[in-house]
Symmetry: C2
Subunit: 114 residues, 2 copies
Amino acid sequence: MDLKPLDALKLWHDVVLDTVRRDVPDLSARQLAILLTVYLEPPPHTVRGLASKLDVSKPAITRALDTMGQKDLLKRKRDDTDKRNVLVQRTVAGSVYLSELSDTIISKAKDHLA
Amino acid sequence: MDLKPLDALKLWHDVVLDTVRRDVPDLSARQLAILLTVYLEPPPHTVRGLASKLDVSKPAITRALDTMGQKDLLKRKRDDTDKRNVLVQRTVAGSVYLSELSDTIISKAKDHLA
DNA sequence: GAATTCCGTTTCGGAGCCGGATCAGTCTAC
DNA sequence: GTAGACTGATCCGGCTCCGAAACGGAATTC
């Protein structure tokens, strides 16, 4: 793999610019980090676990789940075996959102990594 | 270039997670977009031009320049030929910041695009 | 040289997010 | 069964950012 510094920044620039312009579901870096973690890493995902992994406070995770839940990008589910836990789960809308993000990345990558 | 959707998202995940954890100069997506534009696209860069390119309001650009100026990532310079204009210019600290970002991207890319 | 246009900034009220402390509910040890 | 540990949610004061509108200064038009 041969990715030069300038190419890496240009790729980042193109993708960030694209997401800023069509800011539709405007996610903060933290929210995006949560979304990607839930979709890419093996479950289960708890509030505490996510807070630890991202090194942020628990309320930050709870609030992010609130806002992303409203946008239907994620959903909560109470753990039946231990009702203290909340399991964070995927949704169809979340999958679509990330699918579009990967499309953007791949499209922009083609321009720089040809 | 052969970048699969899952690899693209994993790359994004790793880099975003890295920037969230060491949130030192915590830049919003917009601020990062401004920074990358100024450093990657040919000058001159004006407030109005940046607002148009990112499709955001002028005050948003002004405020972003304020905060990033405090962090010394960018600097303003009055245009001598037309004193209405403000030219946005690079700084050493900004170059260092983006250099570290590209290092992170390249490092994470190696894991997925080997 | 007065009126108009253009530029970046500031003001304004409002919305979102922040972390520490605290809370109610659940599970575990004894 | 009761005391303690643990989970996620909520409260709190504070900070950042938002866009529309209004502003002052500079350039242009006539």
